[in-house]
């Protein structure tokens, strides 16, 4: 029987209330709870006081604001999968959300919670890194913005400090951009053995900007930076995608575990990166 250790519970009635509570030591945000509660059962997390933010409807939205897509931190995985505007501008989100956990878990797990959990195998961390999203972190002193590529300090560790709350993730929606996510897992709902996300902005068949995110293979900040550098300015061709994928596979640091040995994971990175780039280019309007 798995039961969390003793904890106290407070329900936030507003963002201001949540921020005031989070300023105290031992307080920790409880959103969907689908990462935190299992961690508490295993004693990997032992917060003193939970601050339940599930009632804060003002943090639950997905909308296009000018040329930016804005996702409230309390939006659920199922909301992102159901969002037509998100899927239109960033099909990578729908690719990824189809393979995050399972449909029932996706009804409760939150987008902000996924990022803040900072699990090295978390799909959305690589996705938001690939799209070059920005995290909006709120405190009683106002908002600060941190690129998602600088948000994670390491496994289970983020830049969010005491008294702070992840409020929103936002990203520019450029025309001519295509994106895709490719994941291999052992079974439905499982973590990735490896996964790759790609975002390509094309101009007349040339890569103007490339974003490549990698999941579960210990890529620094979930990014294949060397592969992105290689692609920028080059024609969006199968040959260049294959070369970029090789670079991505070379520069990550997969750890052998029960999901597979290192060479297999590097093989997956190369193959999945190629597939993601191919689909991203097609979605950006490149001729097949």
């Amino acid at each position: 029987m798995q039961v969390p250790s003793h904890v106290e519970y407070e329900r936030a009635t507003s963002v201001e209330h949540a921020l005031a509570l989070l300023g105290r030591p031992e307080h920790r945000v409880l959103a969907g709870g689908h990462s935190l509660i299992p961690m508490m059962k295993l004693r990997l997390a032992q917060p003193g006081v939970l601050v339940d933010i599930n009632g804060l409807a003002e943090l639950s939205y997905i909308k296009l604001d000018g040329a930016e897509l804005r996702i409230g931190a309390l939006a659920r995985h199922a909301d992102l999968l159901d969002s037509a505007v998100a899927g239109q501008h960033f099909p990578i989100f729908h690719d990824a959300e189809r393979v995050v956990a399972d449909p029932i878990v996706r009804l409760w797990g939150t987008i902000g919670g996924s990022l803040c959990q900072a699990d090295p195998s978390e799909d959305l961390s690589a996705v938001f890194a690939a799209v070059r999203a920005t995290a909006v972190i709120r405190s009683q002193h106002g908002d600060r913005e941190v690129p998602v590529r600088e948000f994670h300090l390491g496994p289970y560790e983020t830049v969010i400090g005491p008294g702070e709350l992840l409020a929103e993730i936002r990203m520019p929606a450029h025309p001519g951009t295509g994106s895709a996510y490719e994941k291999i897992a052992r079974r439905v709902g499982d973590w990735s053995v490896a996964a790759a996300g790609a975002v390509l902005r094309l101009d007349k068949g040339t890569v103007k900007q490339a974003g490549i995110g990698l999941t579960a293979v210990a890529a620094e900040h979930f990014v294949a930076a060397e592969a992105e550098d290689y692609l920028r300015g080059k024609p969006a061709t199968e040959q260049n995608f294959g070369q970029a994928a090789k670079i991505a596979a070379k520069h990550c640091h997969p750890v052998p575990d029960q999901r597979g040995p290192e060479d297999y994971k590097r093989h997956l990175v190369a193959e999945l990166t190629t597939r993601a780039l191919r689909r991203a280019a097609a979605r950006a309007g490149a001729p097949a």
């Binding site: 029987m1 798995q2 039961v3 969390p4 250790s5 003793h6 904890v7 106290e8 519970y9 329900r11 409880l30 709870g33 689908h34 509660i37 299992p38 508490m40 059962k41 939970l50 339940d52 599930n54 956990a101 399972d102 449909p103 029932i104 878990v105 009804l107 409760w108 439905v188 709902g189």
Partner: protein, 158 residues
Amino acid sequence: MTMRVTVTVNGTEYARDVEPRLLLIHFIRDELGLTGSHWGCDTSNCGSCVVWLDATPVKACTVLAAMADGRSVRTVEDLEQDGCLDPVQQGFIECHGLQCGFCTPGMMMTARWLLDRNPDPAEAEIREILSGLLCRCTGYENIVRSVRWAAEHPGERQ
């Protein structure tokens, strides 16, 4: 330390003093004595504990009773109304959708939610929504048939 939690379960309001760490599945089973919802894997993998929290299915082993304070819960006990089975329950009878019955409450609550949103789901949609629920008798074929039966007989409460 305990806290007062008030939850409306299957239309009846219950108030209990519980520890904040108490999981909703234990609140339902041990505090309220409603043992239709099953406590299975404890790790949000198997789905035998699925109930509705307000109108949304949740794996009740991965939510605190405290989070349900002031909200409503619907369990498998509420499917039968006035002695008449829900078509989902009847479907499980007609198509042999259960063997040991352990996963059945989660399967049924998830299926009822699907059918309320999508009265005529394709087999692939049924398989997708049930993909986070485990049946160790490997009765998936019959479970999917049972849900389809319910879709084809929406008015049949027996």
